[in-house]
Amino acid sequence: MSHRSRQLKVSSLARVEGEGALHVVIEDGQVLQADLQIYEPPRFFEAFLRGRQHTEANDITSRICGICPVAYQASAWQAMEDACGVVVDDRIAELRRLLYCGEWISSHSLHIYLLHVPDFLGYPDAITLAKDHRAIVERGLSMKKAGNAILELVGGRAIHPVNPRVGGFYSAPTLADLAPLAAQLRHALDDALATVEWVATFDFPDLELDREFLALRDPARYAIERGELVTSGGLSFPVSEFSEHVVEHQVPHSTALHATLDGAPYLTGPLARYSLNSAQLSPLAREAASAAGLGPTCRNPFRSIVVRAVETAYAIDEALRLIDAYERPSPAWVPVPPRAAVGHGASEAPRGVLYHRYELDADGLIESAVIVPPTSQNQAAIEADVRDVVAGHLDLDDAALTALCEQTIRNYDPCISCSTHFLELTVERR
């Protein structure tokens, strides 16, 4: 076997959400191919949403992803309210943001502690890690639990929340309901700040990628549940123009569609959000980021774990602020009478921008649906990163190179159920 031609294959990716594989071909020191293969069985949501009532997309699309159901709900309710010309009052909007903070805290803590940290510390998983460092894993689980506590209290259930609806909530919690939550969150904030400090001490490969970033921006605050789209290239456009800039196309090796921004691969998610909006973080989160060695932007995907930790601290800080300023919306929801129209919605799922577009008939029945999840937008960038990482580490043996490829993919917290799961990588040298 010569080293001139090598193939790396991970046939089932681990510690990612969904089912995927990686196939890398190297010849004469050149990376010929780096395919992130998503073989998650297609479920055809956009097809069976046709003919459903505009009030149903909220519950139906949450089932696309068990990790980020609130992101699906938020993009759906926003699109429906946009189509029907309804604007909810600020108190409902603030409660929605609190709910979404819960999802960020829960999803980011899951990814940092259970999926990503084992890569940096050389463990196969967090359970094995806990045998040596139980207190660390317990800290992560406790943060995750605080996020889930918000989802349960405000959303009625941690996975596929039942309380949100088009127009608001079925019922809104009282201030007294939220008080115990605040106590739990104050403890979680200390844990999150300790997490930022801790993950900042990991070894990161030296890598700066010159990738276009896309994120939402809200003039008033760090964008989570709404905003306009902005890019690192200086472009800015409303959510309704999303499909004029982002085009999805199909590739043979994947059941997820690939997306390009004005013809080029781009990145959405924590690095994009942080690099475009870090000035809008709370003082506490900005301070933590700065102490962790982050500048105003971050272009090293391996440091995404630090950015995720900063965002977790921010989401907890923001949740505490929202609870402190809470005014119970009454009524908890506003009517959203249907009309024949097109509506757009976008929100920052933990892994990046999630876009929905619906066309309704006069009775509010969905005539067409388009859903662009973050992982399909990031897929081209993930493949490009794998290519760069492999090209820069050809000296590594197959096992080490394979592990590095897997880590590279996990940098993006790819949600393959939305678009893959375990990367099984096998290596072939010819």
Partner: protein, 286 residues
């Protein structure tokens, strides 16, 4: 080896009938002095049900101390070879490859437990069973020829014998813990087969249908969620699928009385458990 596996299978079915699990009792454990092995498998699904295991923040590390997690791709890159004492299966069967894969999972599993509406009833993706999958494929994908899929989404029990079915979209964390603990202890899981109404009453909630005139599927829906919807003054929308003996003909006139149209009734039963026979609409009501 194949004989060994088929032995596992018949033993597993006996367990399901008797509720006892000799292989996993303390006696058996000391015999081969190893912790029982747990495997988690994913088919077509959203990941939410297996995430429920990771959502057991207080119990996860204790459970992991009692068992060996042998195959759980969402959580670990370590994969141990089968056979496995308990397999949790999430998701429905929607591709030719998965038709084969579930057979291998069954052959390697002493006890096979399906978790969630996809695995027990085909999930929301079973809406394709009532439509034209070719049409579905071309709506979502520009080059549908690349997409390998079956015309139907089916429950795991349509393909292999299943020892226990845990309902829900998603499953409930407390119920999942009960099922795992029961199988570890070698007893039958205590999972009531009643309606959501019983949970609602036990929580002391005011009936949303009687008091508010809100349509509610509670009277025909399998218990397990803890009546989460009525607790926020919303009618149950059937995540846990039909209870045994669900009486749809009795409920449907009441749904109409609460203001639902025929179309609304059609749609509310056509969600996450659309392919569950107990939620099939009676001819007259359809």
């Amino acid at each position: 080896m194949s004989e060994h596996r088929s032995e596992y299978r018949s033993e597993a079915r006996n367990v399901a009938r008797s509720g006892a699990n000799p292989a996993m009792s303390a006696g058996a454990k000391s015999q081969d002095s190893r912790a029982p092995t747990l495997a988690v498998w994913k088919f077509a699904s959203c990941d939410g049900c297996q995430l429920t295991l990771l959502d057991c923040e207080d119990e996860l590390l204790s459970i992991a101390g009692e068992i060996t997690i042998a195959h759980f791709l969402e959580a670990s890159r370590n994969v141990l070879p089968g056979p496995y004492d308990v397999s949790l299966v999430e998701g429905s069967i929607t591709t030719p490859g998965d038709v084969e894969r579930i057979q291998r999972v069954r052959a390697e599993s002493r006890v096979l437990i399906t978790i969630g509406a996809c695995a027990t009833a085909g999930g929301i993706q079973a809406l394709r069973n009532f439509g034209d999958v070719e049409d579905f494929r071309s709506v979502v994908y520009a080059s549908p020829q690349y997409i390998d899929t079956l015309a139907t989404s089916t429950a795991i029990s349509a393909h292999v014998p299943v020892d226990f079915e845990l309902r829900g979209c998603p499953i409930d964390k407390r119920q999942l813990l009960e099922v795992i603990i029961a199988y570890l202890a070698g007893r039958k899981p205590d999972i009531p087969d009643t309606s959501v109404c019983t949970e609602c009453k036990r929580r002391g909630l005011t009936c949303v249908m009687v008091a508010d005139g809100t349509p509610c599927l509670g009277p025909v829906t399998h218990a397990g969620c803890g009546a989460v919807c009525p607790s926020v003054r919303r009618g149950c929308y059937g995540c846990f699928g039909p209870m045994t003996g669900a009486n749809l003909p009795a409920l449907i006139p009441q749904l109409h009385a609460c203001g639902m149209s025929d179309g609304d009734v059609d749609r509310v039963f056509a969600t996450f458990n659309v392919a569950a026979p107990g939620f099939a609409l009676p001819e007259a009501g359809a």
